[in-house]
């Protein structure tokens, strides 16, 4: 039984090794903030951090996640204090339907860890999440705001 460390807590999940991390998180651990959009690493809705690295959990087997530190959107602000990115998201009123936004926020949070002041080109290269509502203009503004906060 793989042991997953998610948001600082250990979970022993009854999962076959090949089950995608996404479905272990959603269905076995019960955290539904991480979304399913495509299942083939195209859209980024399922992005979580695995040892700090933005990872598309729909295409990442649970066996590879065991023993690593996994952070989901629910664990981004563990004590309820929103991160700079979440605050910027609120201030810029970024989400429309919001379904892509957990993944978007996780991808952006990872980017700001490696590039605290990303240029537009850095953003273009690193943020490849799909948003069918088309919130990109607000996303870009909010990334810069978070970087400068």
């Amino acid at each position: 039984m793989p042991r997953l460390n998610i948001n600082g807590k250990n979970y022993d999940v009854d999962a076959e090794p090949e089950i995608p991390l996404l479905w272990a998180i959603r269905e076995l651990v019960g955290l539904t903030g991480t979304k399913y959009g495509c299942g083939i690493a195209q859209c980024g809705a399922c992005t979580v951090h695995v040892n700090g690295v933005a990872t598309r959990s729909c295409s990442f087997p649970v066996s590879a996640a065991a023993g690593k530190n996994i952070t989901t959107i629910e664990g981004l602000a563990p004590n309820g204090t929103l991160t700079k990115v979440q605050k910027a998201w609120l201030e810029h009123d970024v989400p429309q339907c919001g379904f892509c936004q957990s993944g978007m926020i996780m991808a952006v949070s990872a980017l700001l860890k490696t590039k605290p002041k990303p240029t537009d080109a850095d953003i273009d290269a690193a943020i490849t999440n799909i948003c069918r509502c088309g919130t990109f203009q607000q996303v870009r503004a909010a990334i810069h705001a978070a970087a400068n906060a």
């Binding site: 019960g30 979304k35 299942g39 989400p95 290269a125 088309g134």
Partner: protein
């Protein structure tokens, strides 16, 4: 609105309030006078639209659905404006269609499509807010024994100035709830608005940044199982056979069931197990007649329609035949626009608990009442034993206005009485079972006299009718589909914006077995490309500037012209563009609003860089300009994704594209800078979510032609080896 995800069996059985956007309603029967209706927490209703809690929190009821477009916030603004309440204490909740029916449709129409959410309910929701304010004022006046006319209301505080007394809405709510709801209420002049008309932030953002917002896919019920489903890949096909035994022993699998005559579902402990088993399940299909159809055969049928004798007329004046016969110059062009899938970020899903005497559904739907009707029909139970709890939608764009997926989930759950079943479509199923943007071709003919005046225009659209496919009861008596002429009608909310002496716009209806649907913007997506890029072709043929050419034809259409002039001014049409940058224009009216666009692009090899798009909207009244700006930019992402990448093709009757790798969507790197001009001219209520989508594609195509001299007339652009830079 706040959905409470953690529920126990008892509260679930006891009432629906804890488990949906729904309200649990209690009734206090008073010895005389009207009864008080209470929300789940016991707070009284002040009329059907408003609940006021003792702590002054105002709960606004919203019947239309929130799918990202922001009308949940906009509708609350309208109610709050008339209510004169403290905006910082406003929250919202959804009534259920079952509750609405039980109260004689107290909340009116639930449907949320056609950019209608606000423009078709602003009157009665504002009246609801105003009536509640009057009741609160009356209650305070009664308490103080003063005339109501001496009591004023502002920011949830009631004041009697003469005696310097004050109280709050929460304190008089109980008394107000016992009063009759006034019938004749006066509404504010929009110029006096303080909450409506302002660029306020959305009410539903906090839970969208911390993962707490519950979408249909996130619903959890005690003892719930999960279902994955596959319907005939050829629409109209049927299940011939399937080998359930092969997967029955796979991990987690509980049951394999047929759903209606066209689908098979696997029910399992988790959705992943259900899907994995379904992927392994061998299903034999009878594709029916549709199995012989391909994109090429559809194209042939549409092509025939371009020159067919008979067609439905949408707009006509003068004598186009004579104009063509006597033309000094004639310009012709043929266009084609493909099928598109909505590809909502959240694939279709619904959760259902069916028992022999109750059927409850939790789902994201754009039309609670349509989902309710589908539930009643599929469940085999009477209306008073069914209900639908609306959950936040992970996108709608028109797709969730249909309730096919709700009916399917009910039919699955019915085979597991007493067990809640969450049915989720895989992305692949969502791609296969779309309600596709209709496919069309178009032949445009323009005629000139010897002085280069446009004398005639014939626009022949050949293609699929959405209404014929999914709502035949809404076809006109002659069988025509009025919606096909969006943006092209002689008048009304989608009026044609040009005056041409001899005009004929007609539609040769050519339907296929592929299910069509309302796709954000609907028929204006292709109508605007056809008309507005051809307008540029005509301007070029006449040797005239595209703006001046249009202006000459728009003298009788001042509001159309108003938005066009606004974008031309903002983009600097009269001034030269930066080196290597080219411009294009477009305009049309749709969903009651006037819209125009101006794009700046540069072209390097086969890469098109869109630097900037300016879009102007005149929606009459703008309820929330900040959200309108977001809808404009968002609609461009949707429209440009379709222009550059989007195409659903048909092979052996089935849609070939299966996921985002072959049905691509624009990313942040490709996002142009969008400048939205919101210019409400007052006096009418136009829609917002959809109209501007139509301006992006033609403006970009016209700019591309200005840059290269090349006209592209079939889409998407990837088929011409053109990409977004």
């Amino acid at each position: 609105m706040n959905y409470v995800p953690k529920i126990n069996r008892r509260s679930f059985v006891a009432g629906t309030a804890a488990v949906g956007g729904g309200l649990a309603l209690g009734l206090d029967f008073l010895p005389s006078g009207p009864k008080v209706v209470r929300a789940a927490d016991g707070s009284p209703e002040i009329g059907v639209w408003v609940v006021i809690r003792p702590d002054d929190v105002v709960v606004v009821r919203v019947a239309r659905s929130e799918m990202g477009q922001g009308s949940l916030t906009g509708l609350a603004q309208l109610v709050a404006e008339e209510l004169e309440c403290d905006w910082s204490k406003v929250t919202t909740e959804y009534p259920t269609p079952g509750q609405s029916l039980a109260r004689k449709r107290a909340w009116g129409d639930f449907s949320t499509g056609g950019s209608r959410g606000i423009r078709e309910s602003h009157q009665y929701v504002r009246e609801g807010g105003a009536a509640a304010r009057m009741m609160l004022i009356q209650a305070a006046a009664d308490m103080w024994k003063v005339p109501a006319a001496e009591v004023t209301a502002a920011k949830s505080v009631l004041t009697h100035a003469k005696s310097s007394r004050k109280t709050t809405y929460g304190k008089v709510a109980e008394a107000a709830a016992k009063l009759e709801v006034p019938k004749n209420v006066a509404l504010k002049d929009p110029k006096d608005w303080k909450i409506a008309g302002k660029p306020l932030k959305r009410l539903d953002t906090a839970e969208k940044v911390n993962g707490k917002m519950i979408y249909g896919m996130d619903v959890k019920l005690p003892g719930m199982l999960n279902a994955a489903v596959k319907a005939s890949p050829v629409h109209g096909g049927k299940v011939k056979s399937f080998d359930a035994a092969k997967v029955a022993n796979m991990k987690g699998v509980v049951k394999v069931v047929q759903v209606a005559d066209n689908a098979v579902a696997v029910i399992a402990d988790t959705w992943w197990h259900a899907k994995s088993a379904l992927d392994d399940l061998k299903i034999e299909w009878d594709p029916g007649e549709g199995g012989k159809v391909s994109s090429a055969t559809i194209a042939d049928i549409l092509k025939e329609g371009l020159t067919a004798e008979k067609a439905f007329i949408g707009n006509q004046n003068g004598d186009i035949k004579a104009a063509i016969a006597g033309a000094a110059k004639k310009v012709e062009a043929v266009y084609a626009y493909p099928y598109q899938n909505h590809a909502c970020m959240e694939p279709m899903n619904a959760t259902v608990l069916w028992t022999p005497d109750k059927c409850e559904v939790w789902t994201g739907t754009q039309n609670g009442e349509a989902a309710f009707a589908a539930t009643i029909a599929a469940s085999g139970l009477p209306a008073n034993k069914c209900d639908v709890h609306k959950i936040m939608l992970g996108g709608g764009f028109g797709r969730r206005g249909r309730a096919d997926y709700v009916a399917q989930a009910v039919l699955i759950a019915k085979q597991m009485p007493g067990t809640p079943i969450k049915m989720i479509w895989s992305r692949e199923e969502d791609m296969a079972q779309g309600s596709f943007h209709p496919i069309t071709q178009c032949k445009m003919v323009g005629t000139f006299d010897d002085k280069n005046n446009l004398t005639g225009l014939h626009m022949r659209i050949s293609g699929q009718s959405i209404l014929a496919g999914i709502a035949p009861q809404r076809l006109n008596p002659d069988g025509s589909d009025g919606a096909t002429f969006q943006g092209l009608n002689p008048n009304g909310e989608t009026a044609f914006g040009y005056t041409v002496p001899n005009l004929l716009i007609d539609h040769a209806m050519r339907n296929t077995h592929v299910t069509p649907g309302f796709w954000r913007g609907v028929n204006v997506n292709h109508n605007a490309i056809y008309l507005e890029t051809f307008m540029d072709e005509l301007a070029a043929a006449a040797g005239q500037d595209p703006l001046e050419f249009r202006r000459k034809l728009m003298a009788n259409h001042p509001k159309h012209l108003g938005v066009l002039n606004a974008v031309a001014d903002r983009i600097g049409w009269k001034k030269p563009a930066p080196k290597g940058v080219y411009r294009g224009l477009s305009q049309m009216m749709a969903f009651g609003s006037y819209v125009a666009g101006a794009a700046e692009v540069s072209v390097t090899g086969n890469k098109i860089k869109i630097h900037r798009i300016v879009a102007a909207t005149d929606p009459g009244h703008a309820v929330n300009p900040a959200q309108i700006e977001r809808q404009v930019a968002g609609s461009f992402v949707y429209g440009l994704s379709a222009l550059f990448y989007g195409e659903c093709t048909v092979k052996n009757g089935a849609i070939e594209q299966t996921n985002f790798h072959d049905y691509n969507s624009l990313r942040i790197a490709e996002m142009p800078k969008v400048e939205a001009i919101v210019m409400p001219s007052g006096g009418f209520w136009g829609g917002v979510g959809e109209p501007t989508i139509l301006v992006a594609a033609p403006a970009v195509l016209n700019a591309y032609a200005a840059a290269t001299g090349k006209r592209v007339r079939s889409f998407p652009l990837k088929n011409h080896n053109l990409a977004m830079a």
